[in-house]
């Protein structure tokens, strides 16, 4: 903890959890899709569904999907800008169960070239967020660090090959976790790193035989001033 955790972030009001956190969830979802969003169905759960409109949570989520920062003064007009940009958005209320965080959202996204992604996460207070699901994979990362997200075959050596490349290019891993749906099937690695991964190194990871896809999400929090 340091002073910038207490003084800041600079944000558009009225609520750090319902507004700033919602922008960051949108930012994360767009980064995971990896391209401009043309269609978004946004499922709101719990407090996001109940008091979200009064907090501008809906505007903030759409602003986040357009890649805007938490302090963008256009956020109150985000719907108009989205229409202009050709982003079609639909809201619905979802029930993610009692165990889900009260500020939980799920995005079903379609990108410019037809790519689809599902992303879910929660705003956990003070503008901080946790992504808990990507394309049906349950996982967990905060976006506080540059994050590498893989989809790979669940076979021995997959983790070593990826971490080998990071080691060679001097990228330090802060946290890492591996998730899979079933043994020997598809798995996902989440690597949170201290340094961002260069394009060429990302391409090297993508070129590994066991890797199906790899995505790189730059740190989305701590935008401050």
């Amino acid at each position: 903890m340091n002073i910038f955790d207490i003084i800041g972030p600079v944000m558009v009001g009225p609520s750090s959890s319902h507004t700033a956190g919602a922008v960051r969830l949108g930012n994360a979802a767009r980064a995971i899709l990896g391209q401009p969003v043309i269609e978004a169905t946004i499922g709101l759960h719990g407090s996001f569904a109940q008091t979200g409109r009064g907090h501008g949570t809906d505007l903030a989520l759409v602003a986040g999907l357009m890649g805007w920062p938490t302090d963008d003064l256009r956020i109150p007009q985000a719907f108009d800008y989205a229409r202009e940009a050709g982003l079609h958005y639909f809201f619905r209320t979802i029930d993610a169960g009692d165990a889900a965080h009260p500020n939980f959202v799920k995005f079903w996204l379609t990108g410019q070239n037809g790519v689809k992604s599902q992303v879910a996460g929660a705003s956990i207070g003070g503008g901080r967020v946790v992504i808990s699901e990507v394309d049906d994979f349950p996982l967990a990362f905060t976006g506080d660090f540059p994050t590498i997200l893989t989809l790979h075959e669940d076979r021995p050596g997959a983790v070593a090959e990826v971490t080998g490349i990071l080691s060679k290019c001097g990228v330090n891993i802060a946290q890492m976790k591996v998730f899979r749906k079933n043994k020997g099937g598809l798995a996902s690695m989440v690597l949170e790193t201290d340094q961002p991964l260069a394009e060429a190194d990302l391409a090297a990871v993508a070129g590994l035989p066991m890797i199906k896809t790899v995505r790189c999400i730059h740190a989305i929090s701590g935008q401050g001033v």
């Binding site: 910038f4 003084i7 972030p9 609520s15 003070g126």
Partner: protein, 293 residues
């Protein structure tokens, strides 16, 4: 996330041992913590101050809030104060309260603010700091020092108690903001490090038990006026501390008391809109109207 407990008393003792003004001592702590230079930290604080100043100006224009429950009160108070030779609060407090209301109203209208420590309590520090700037001729670098003291106090509170209404009620948000502002004010007016601690202790003692009961769950009623209340408490505590009045209960123990009060507070009074003002007949009627829109 559990944090190692910090101690304001320890920092005060250390600052006195090094014979450093408290603002300078706190800046030194942040240099170690962030690995940024003191000039970089001060520059970032000045950038935050610029946003705070803009949010005061935006709020004084009287914007209407998202939920429609607040807006225009900062301007009302400013116009009233400016039209009178003499007011109950006097020039300094009148300005500080008007500016705090302004930021609260700008926040509720989706204006740009600095969460300090939260969006709901974002009016308190700008209110105090910019009233000080105008009435005591302080410059932006001095104000940045005040903000750094405020941030250090906030870190101690975050580590021993909470800054979130959902965890500790409004005492954790407006109470903490008031304590941070009181300490900053004492430091900026030449008080000692020990007096900073007294001001923090007295502010929190006077705001202990304050519940978080927002109508319709929105950061509007009573949040905006509670920012004004916290400004008043901060001024009272700072002036008492500068006069040499001390808190019988030491500052770290007062913060611990806030934590235990927050824990024993019923959850209907911790940002759930299930208790207090939120469930008064008028509060419920407004909730229904807003959700029907």
């Amino acid at each position: 996330m559990s944090l190692a407990k910090l101690s304001l008393a320890e920092w005060i003792t250390a600052a006195e041992a090094e014979a450093l003004p408290f603002a300078e001592f706190c800046l030194g702590l942040q240099v170690k913590q962030t690995e940024l230079s003191s000039a970089e930290i001060t520059a970032r604080m000045e950038a935050m101050l610029a946003v705070m100043e803009e949010s005061i100006a935006a709020g004084l224009k009287g914007p209407r809030s998202k939920g429609g429950l607040v807006g225009g009160d900062a301007r009302k108070l400013q116009q009233y104060s400016q039209s009178r030779q003499k007011t109950l609060m006097g020039r300094f407090s009148g300005k500080a309260v008007a500016y705090a209301l302004a930021v609260g109203e700008a926040n509720a209208a989706m204006g740009r603010i600095v969460a300090a420590p939260t969006a709901g309590s974002s009016g308190v520090l700008p209110g105090i700091l910019f009233a000080l700037k105008e009435e005591y001729d302080l410059d932006q670098i001095q104000l940045a020092g005040g903000l750094i003291v405020a941030g250090a106090i906030g870190m101690v509170i975050a580590s021993r108690a909470s800054l979130a209404g959902a965890a500790g009620g409004c005492q954790a948000e407006c109470g903490s903001a008031g304590a941070m502002a009181a300490g900053a004010m004492v430091a900026l007016l030449g008080g000692t490090a020990a007096q900073v601690g007294q001001a923090v202790a007295i502010t929190i003692k006077n705001m202990l038990g304050l519940v978080c009961d927002p109508v319709a769950g929105l950061v509007e009623v009573p949040c905006v006026k509670r920012n004004a209340g916290a400004v008043a408490q901060a001024i009272i505590a700072a002036e008492m501390a500068l006069a040499g009045i001390t808190s019988v209960i030491p500052v770290d123990e007062v913060i611990d008391a806030m934590e235990s009060v927050g824990r024993s507070m019923h959850c209907s009074l911790k940002e759930t809109a299930q208790g207090g003002l939120a469930v008064t007949p008028t509060g419920l009627e407004l909730t229904e109207k807003i959700s029907a829109r």
